[in-house]
């Protein structure tokens, strides 16, 4: 049967080849297919809510757990903040802190806590723990933006079994945001917090383990202070290496919550109706074009106003945010006291007017470098449209993507030449918080290099406004100034978008724009 010397026919080599191929085929067919998971099967068929899976493309980052906006998928699962927030009034709502009271001149805040809150380690939460949490935010290693507000505290004192008092030198209008943004951390395990070895909070789920780059495992807190909650027995937060992988997982039901999807992907996913989209609503990110007033010709306010008029905010909202968001000209919510909806449309899309302003300033054809951080597809989408708009208006724009850490370093040093596009979180809560803590708008040392004493005055008026009337007036004055000076040109508000199966009920988002699964369950 086996020929020698290469005559045609069934040579041994050929037989070996065929049998090798055959056995490979059998082997592959016998294995269950990992690829069968990638069919379009819709929701994943859970019988009871034993486990909820959250999918995200960013891994847990315990070293920045106190920095608002990071760790959105795990923060509100493990930790409680002192208070929640009402999405309509943007005022704090009772949570672990049951009530709070200002004194007459708003320099002393007395906060009462619940009596039945326990850390996951079993230890009872007391006012000293609240004070510890606030103190931790004050240090620069925490990276907490609310830290700037916390640093204004003159003294912190325990004044009762479940009460503490914070004293300020002068009233701070946004101070109550401290209650909304401070996670309650455990002093006993604090040394292991930033490494992710032990993350002990008082929240609905208990941290079990973290496999870096892979997943975080949490189990139900049986002693949670909201009785009967949470419903799910456990939560797994899975890290996906790419947006595309997360999108496939959402499609096949591998994840119950697909978090922080690129808006256009979310729009595609929810077309069929089997999946529903959720946004973080009022906890939005404010997208803006930042202007370094030290770079010419952007030191001229006419040039900056030209930019403000050139931007097609509606197209940006429709294309870059896939419709999930609102076009606006104001960095913070216009439902705040003193502001109105007409502020949202202060600048209309008018390339002709922009060109005229530019001509008036004698800067037609000026070069406009636009920097964005690399790897952010929404920023890239916004930048593309902005570039187009600016060239319509007579600028010579040029977009450059800067590697992320280099970009951060430049933002910190306020050394970006010309324009940049970025987003700010937490501005919805109150201008005061961002004026104190956020680099683009900080009163001193902001990324735009604005040192105008007028700005300092208006900002200080707002930060330290005492009465409600003062706050409203200060909001108004500052907002008008920001709009006219146009060195922080708001493009729109974009919330974070999540996609869940339509059968998931009780999905919520926190005041800081994070995942809340306290009352979540699969129907």
């Amino acid at each position: 049967m086996f020929n020698t010397d290469g005559a045609p026919g069934l040579t041994r080599r050929r037989l070996l080849g065929v049998s090798a191929a055959g056995s490979m085929a059998l082997f592959l067919a016998a294995c269950s297919s990992a690829a069968s998971n990638t069919g379009d099967t819709g929701s994943g068929g859970h019988a009871k809510t034993t486990n909820l899976t959250v999918g995200t493309t960013t891994d847990l980052a315990p070293s920045t757990i106190l920095r608002t906006g990071t760790n959105p998928t795990t923060l509100s699962l493990i930790f409680d903040t002192l208070a929640g927030v009402d999405p309509n009034t943007l005022q704090p709502t009772p949570g672990v802190a049951t009530s709070w009271r200002w004194n007459a001149d708003r320099t002393e805040l007395t906060v009462n806590l619940r009596d039945d809150v326990y850390f996951h380690s079993g230890r009872k939460l007391g006012p000293q723990d609240a004070i510890f949490s606030i103190k931790t935010e004050q240090s620069s290693t925490s990276g907490a933006q609310i830290g700037a507000t916390a640093l204004l505290i003159d003294s912190m004192k325990v004044t009762g079994a479940n009460q503490f008092k914070l004293t300020l030198k002068k009233p701070v209008s946004s101070f109550l945001n401290l209650l909304i943004l401070t996670p309650l951390i455990d002093s006993e395990t604090f040394s292991d917090l930033y490494s992710g070895k032990k993350m002990v909070g008082t929240g609905p789920y208990v941290f079990q383990s973290w496999t870096p780059g892979s997943q975080v495992k949490l189990t139900r807190n049986a002693h949670y202070w909201q009785k009967g909650l949470p419903y799910a027995e456990s939560v797994t937060v899975r890290v996906f290496g790419s947006e595309q992988a997360l999108v496939s997982a959402a499609r096949t039901g591998e994840v119950d919550v697909a978090w922080a999807l690129v808006p256009s992907d979310a729009a595609l996913l929810t077309k069929s109706g089997k999946l529903a989209s959720h946004t973080t609503g009022e906890a939005f990110a404010e997208w803006y074009v930042g202007v370094n007033v030290k770079s010419k010709p952007f030191d001229d306010v006419l040039v900056r106003q030209a930019i403000a008029h050139a931007l097609d905010r509606d197209r940006i909202t429709k294309q870059a945010f896939a419709g999930f968001g609102t076009a606006t000209c104001v960095p913070w919510s216009t439902s705040l006291p003193g502001l109105s909806g007409s502020d949202d449309t202060y600048y209309n899309y008018d390339p002709a007017k922009a060109k005229a302003l530019l001509k008036q300033a004698g800067a037609l054809g000026a070069s406009a470098p636009i920097a964005i951080g690399a790897g952010n597809s929404v920023a890239a989408a916004v930048a593309n449209i902005v570039e187009f708009n600016l060239s319509e208006a007579g600028f010579k724009p040029h977009v450059s993507q800067v590697q992320s850490t280099t970009y951060q370093a430049q933002l910190q040093a306020a050394s970006i030449n010309g324009l940049w596009i970025n987003n700010v979180g937490q501005s919805y809560l109150s201008p005061g918080t961002v004026l104190l803590g956020n680099a683009p708008l900080k009163v001193t040392g902001n990324t735009s290099n604005v040192t105008d004493p007028q700005y300092v005055k208006l900002a200080d008026n707002l930060i330290y406004a005492a009465s409600d009337a003062d706050i409203a007036a200060a909001n108004r004055a500052l907002t008008t100034y920001m709009l006219d000076q146009a060195w922080h040109i708001t493009v729109g508000r974009a919330p974070t978008v999540a996609v869940t199966p339509a059968s998931l009920t009780g999905f919520q988002t926190s005041g800081t724009g994070g995942v809340v699964l306290t009352s979540a369950k699969l129907a």
Partner: protein, 288 residues
């Protein structure tokens, strides 16, 4: 310089010389290789003249399907014409290579020859080559891109560093092989100055073998650009490069496959053509 020495030199010139190298291109491989590379380059240079949309021009028509409508290959996620961008990518890669490879040839050959001329320099040069070779291409590219901001300059530097060892080693090997040949010994004995020997014999032969390595070096460079872009440290958008389009396009494979497939085919054709050329020239050198 005596008549004998002059005769010895003339007698030693290998038949064919530079002509022989180019004749390698007249084989089937050489012709196909040149044709393919030429086609890709020509497309990049000439086709854009027939297109309406430029590579940076965006439109509201994002991820438009290919083969229908105004865009032959469809559009990307911000409405830019994919065909225009692929052609721009070809041009960009060509520019990068045209800058990087000659630098690398000159530096590599110089180092290689220097290493033969001087034994100490030889050790240092070997050392440098081993160091550069120890950094796998992409790894070196990553380190360079972060040190110098990611972009054209970083890629050119990475390309140069990655291809110098190949040229350097080739130059050194050829030079050493030539030096041990009989005619060199004969010429030396006859009193020919070293510089003449170098110029008339060592150098041309070294150049031949080095030139034969240009094609593989070019494809190596093209692939390095692609790999770097996939990792996100190559050419940054909105500039179009083939590698960067493959990387971005791979996210939209199910919705707009041409986004990734078009640049993929371009890279594949370019590299295949170049390796065919490289093979043809290499065969020609060997046959000599």
């Amino acid at each position: 310089m005596t008549a004998v020495a002059a005769l010895a030199l003339r007698w030693a010139v290998p038949a064919g010389g530079r002509r022989g190298l180019l004749s390698g291109l007249r084989t089937l491989r050489g012709i196909v290789g040149v044709a393919v590379v030429g086609l890709v380059l020509l497309a990049g240079l000439i086709l854009p003249l027939f297109l309406k949309a430029g590579p940076l021009q965006q439109s509201a028509d994002a991820l438009a399907p290919a083969w229908t409508g105004a865009h032959l290959f469809g559009t990307d996620e911000v409405g830019r014409d994919i065909l225009a961008r692929v052609l721009a990518g070809i041009r960009l890669d060509a520019v990068l290579v045209v800058v990087a490879v000659p630098i690398s040839v000159v530096l590599g050959t110089a180092l290689g020859l220097l290493s033969v001329a001087n034994p100490l320099a030889g050790d240092v040069a070997q050392w440098i080559f081993n160091l550069l070779l120890g950094f796998p291409g992409v790894v070196m590219g990553i380190a360079v891109s972060v040190a110098i901001a990611p972009g054209k300059t970083a890629i050119i530097v990475a390309m140069v560093l990655a291809t110098i060892p190949a040229f350097g080693r080739q130059a050194r090997i050829t030079a050493m092989a030539e030096l041990s040949r009989d005619y060199v010994a004969a010429a030396t004995v006859a009193g020919t100055p070293r510089r003449e020997i170098a110029r008339h014999h060592i150098l041309p032969n070294v150049l031949d073998t080095v030139i034969a390595r240009i094609a593989p070096a070019v494809s190596h460079a093209v692939l390095l650009e692609g790999a770097l872009s996939v990792v996100g440290l190559g050419i940054q958008p909105p500039q179009a490069s083939l590698g960067q389009m493959i990387a971005s396009g791979s996210q939209y494979l199910s919705d707009a496959p041409m986004y990734a497939l078009a640049p993929l085919v371009a890279v594949f054709l370019a590299v295949m053509g170049l390796s065919l050329i490289g093979d043809a020239l290499n065969d020609a050198v060997l046959r000599r």
